[in-house]
Symmetry: C2
Subunit: 417 residues, 2 copies
């Protein structure tokens, strides 16, 4: 079977069904807490990331013809519940975590979450023409401009209390900016622009791209730097105290300043190319920078021995953290194919295959359908759950939808595979 067909069969036969059968929480909204066998773990809190990613997953499926008559029926009540439950009627914006019945658990305004509201509501409006979703996307965009834009230094502040007062500094994140959040704003604004075509959405997309390229990359490797002061000076990355943060090393020393995430770099690359395509702008002016980023990913990020993509390492040498995270694999698949399409250099196809084969043989729990969370370098399962507060359906389903298109395009162009 052709690669694209194999992915599509897995996506429609296993991955989407995994979520379609499980994503609706009995009490309303979506749930994404599942163990390695796809059984509920018993956790019940609802996070903004979990809800918005599930809305995105269903909307993206519908837009791409994978709704199977099911996604529409799941989306509507989940959207209703989200809009009713997560909206902060007192201070505007969206809560961070509620309990299973919708009572606030963490009310901070975290830009990462607000950004996913814009993203999923735009995707939902594009998929279903739902007017509330469109209005919610536009209104949340405006809120972000009002409360989070930094008119002193450019870019956005990222962590606020419920009333949009910046959180304290340090581990509370009130005095930091990040590559991650600005990249996700680029992602969200791209889909918002696709929806509205509005000049202001186009302009803010161009501005956040400008901040990313001019402040958030390490030259000349053109690999991402993780964290910054408010005035956009690079800082050694620390873990933030959010009620859930990353699962990985939530305590301990900051990371070295000379550090970059292979997954973020390659995810940025394809999201940026997608943004340019929505903007109608040629990638040519950025091609040499993108090539540097792509080469760095292939040279240091892709594991030539076991396959897959490492976690992170320095801007200028071999990887330091050689574990394999699910989301970095998911985004690399898309990004490496985009590199092949952009540069027409065989090395990117080969790198893609190294990641794909690792994902297919090690990362995916084929018995159940979803991907494990974290593997050791050699593919031994380290964290075996299939879903939690933020490890859920957005990275994996989007990756499969986006990945399977690209070999078809590559073949259409007559490129070697």
């Amino acid at each position: 079977m052709e690669l694209a067909d194999r992915i599509e069969a897995y996506l429609t036969g296993k991955l989407y069904p995994f979520w379609y059968q499980r994503v609706t929480a009995p009490e309303g909204g979506f749930t994404t807490y599942f163990d390695r066998n796809g059984k509920p773990t018993g956790q019940t809190d609802k996070t903004i990331i979990q809800q918005t990613r599930s809305i995105f997953m269903l909307s993206h499926a519908i837009r791409n013809g994978y709704g199977a008559g099911k996604a529409e029926a799941l989306l509507k009540p989940g959207l209703d519940w989200f809009l009713k439950t997560f909206r902060d009627h007192e201070h505007e914006g969206w809560l961070w975590i509620v309990d299973k019945d919708g009572n606030p658990v963490s009310t901070d305004k975290i830009m990462y979450g607000q950004s996913f509201v814009i993203y999923c509501m735009s995707e939902c409006a594009l998929a279903t023409k739902d007017e509330r979703a469109r209005r919610t996307a536009e209104d949340t965009f405006t809120l972000v401009q009002k409360y989070a834009a930094d008119t002193a230094y450019g870019g956005y502040r990222e962590m606020f209390l419920r009333d949009w007062q910046p959180r304290p500094g340090g581990a509370y994140g009130g005095d930091r900016k990040s590559f991650d959040v600005h990249m996700h704003l680029m992602e969200a604004y791209t889909t918002l622009l696709e929806l509205t075509g509005a000049e202001i959405h186009r302009r803010k997309l161009l501005e956040v791209i400008d901040v990313l390229w001019s402040k958030m990359f390490h030259a000349p490797t053109w690999t991402g730097i993780s964290q910054f002061s408010l005035d956009l000076k690079p800082l050694p990355a620390i873990m933030f105290k959010t009620v859930w943060g990353s699962d990985r090393d939530n305590e301990g020393e900051p990371r070295p300043l000379n550090n970059t995430s292979y997954g973020h770099n390659i995810e940025f690359l394809w999201l940026f190319l997608h943004a340019l395509s929505v903007l109608g702008i040629s990638p040519d002016p950025w091609k040499e920078k993108l090539r540097a980023l792509a080469r760095h990913t292939v040279s240091y990020g892709v594991d030539s021995e076991f396959g897959g993509v490492f976690v992170e390492g320095p801007h200028d040498g071999p990887a330091r953290d050689m574990q394999k995270e699910f989301w970095q694999q998911a985004e690399s698949l898309v990004g490496l194919l985009d590199c092949y399409l952009l540069f027409n250099e065989r090395v990117y196809w080969d790198a893609f295959r190294k990641v794909f084969d690792f994902v297919w043989s090690k990362m995916i729990n084929h018995d159940v359908g979803e991907w494990y969370a974290l593997l050791e370098r050699d593919g031994t399962v380290k964290w075996d759950y299939l879903g939690h507060a933020w490890k859920n359906n957005y990275h994996t389903t989007r990756s499969m939808v986006q990945t399977l298109r690209r070999p078809r395009e590559i073949s259409r162009r007559g490129m070697e595979t």
Copy 2:
């Protein structure tokens, strides 16, 4: 008669009556077109600056006890007319110029004008508790964050088409930022913060102050630079093509890059001190910069021969344009007294007297009440009209209200005069 009493008698006996008798246009809204004798000039277009400045003038009078039972009655219908006529229902924000009956003449969205909406509506809400004024101030603030904030470089874009698309560059101003507009945003946000006490208004005030001090001054003289590229690099100042711009040299060569406006510098100084006082922040950290600015004004801006303040000159030498504009005199009076209060150095009182005596003997048309527009260095009247599209009531009445308080404070502190 004490100086303060003399000013107060002039303000209440001549200046306010001048405007109270004339400011209401027969067809609604406010008019400010008056010749040297206070007769209507026949011009009838209504500008956003004229309307908002008149709303400010009446509100400021009421807040300070100079309404004389008249300002309230004039304010209400003028406010109604403005809100009905100038609001752009299609694209949000406020029109630039309408004809006498309210039909749009110039629909561009100019930040200078939007800023005065925030300022006058905040002052109006503080004076009258009018709920529409409060809401309009807050909503316009939000619009400005959405459409004008520059999330790439910080600060604000200043000139837009009706739909908030930036105007073209060059003389259309779409690719420039200015000291003037950022100073007026500081002024507007200060009064908005006074009204609401909201953290977001406080934060944006601090941010615009940061942009002003970190990007818009010439060090070490700490005198203002007029214009900048979007990325806040100084540029030689040009005149912008707005339907009305400055009256002065609307054509011709750009000004030299080494150029500063004495009036803007000293106006900034007192508006900044006022902002700090509303913020509850001590001026101590800025004292040496403010001293440099103040000394530059006294050394080069104040005319030791004829009195008054010159128009402009280099950052580091004697004035080049030695004419005397009405607004520069008005703002210098307040600013020089604030310098005396801040530094307790006699030189600022003496400079104030040189400007005040010039204003009193040359600038004010005592027969009628208002000030002439522009004088030659020696006080010969060059432009004799008392009011037009933007030369009207805000600078002169505010100056008199603010100026007369300060000698009383100086005397209360037992300082020498």
